[in-house]
């Protein structure tokens, strides 16, 4: 499914924040992207918040699928 560019940026920004919060790691690429996303007026705090929730939700879905797969083994 094609995502709108603003929403994609919000998800990328959300993923960078989550990675940083989890292990404090920020690669030069992350930092460049973070700077660009923070400077983009279309990407708001609210969208970043939703982006983080979407990334976490996707991880949770994958985890649930893995658990389900294990049950069937």
């Amino acid at each position: 499914m094609k995502q709108c560019s603003i929403w994609r940026k919000a998800r990328i920004g959300g993923r960078i924040i989550l990675r940083n919060r989890e292990n404090g790691a920020v690669t030069p690429r992350d930092a460049r992207l973070a700077e660009a996303i923070a400077a983009d007026p279309a990407v708001t705090d609210r969208l970043l918040d939703q982006g983080m929730a979407a990334v976490l939700g996707r991880l949770a879905e994958r985890r649930a699928l893995r658990e389900k797969g294990r049950e069937h083994v």
Partner: protein, 208 residues
């Protein structure tokens, strides 16, 4: 066709027959208004045609809680639907004018049904907080919704009401929560490059 019925008629039909009014207020979509007006005239139920008449009001004239369509009573007839507003929404709408007749309608509904209680009324007005900001357009010289509520509150609830602290601020605080977000852009802006620690081979414990 969908016909919205509001004003005193649904109160008279559903709650108290003595709540007489000579007109039945209805509203339809703007593009259907002239057609329905023609139907009313042809039926001899227009203003100046009958003692009891139907008045087709402009769409949006019934200013009340945004919940009103959720709890209206829908009467289906073969080629359309009549949507009767719930009494609480009619009463909330009556506060736009709050004439003596409107206040009496309030008192009558409360005496007949026990509703709305003071607590229910506060909840409803919080849910319809937009009404407090509508009546300030150019050309409007009547009392505002807020003034009307302040004026009639002592008569209905035997006390004064502080609109800001009891209705407006709690309502807007709740709405605001939907628009608030943590300052994540600031967090992104402050990120500094910090590479993950890599373990070099020299650190690898070797077997003795």
């Amino acid at each position: 066709m969908l016909i919205n019925v509001f004003g005193s008629a649904p109160l008279q039909m559903g709650i108290e027959e003595s709540l007489l009014s000579n007109d039945v207020d209805i509203a339809v979509r703007t593009e259907e208004q002239s057609r329905i007006e023609e139907v009313i005239r042809n039926a001899g139920l227009g203003r100046d045609q009958s003692e009891y008449f139907i008045q087709c009001r402009p769409e949006g004239a019934f200013r009340t809680s945004s919940r009103w369509k959720d709890r209206a009573f829908n009467y289906l007839f073969p080629n359309g639907t009549a949507r009767f507003a719930h009494p609480i929404d009619i009463l909330v709408g009556k506060l736009n004018r709050a004439d003596e007749k409107d206040v009496r309608a309030f008192e009558l509904v409360i005496s007949k049904t026990g509703h709305p209680s003071e607590e229910e009324m506060i909840g409803e007005l919080r849910g319809a907080v937009e009404l407090f900001s509508v009546a300030h357009f150019r050309g409007f010289d009547g009392p505002s919704y807020a003034e009307n509520v302040r004026r009639i509150w002592p008569r209905l609830c035997q006390r004064e009401i502080d609109l800001e602290s009891e209705i407006i601020i709690p309502a807007f605080t709740r709405i605001q929560e939907a628009y608030e977000a943590p300052p994540l852009k600031e967090e992104l802006r402050n990120l500094k490059v910090k590479l993950p620690i890599k373990v070099s081979y020299s650190d690898t414990p070797t077997a003795e």
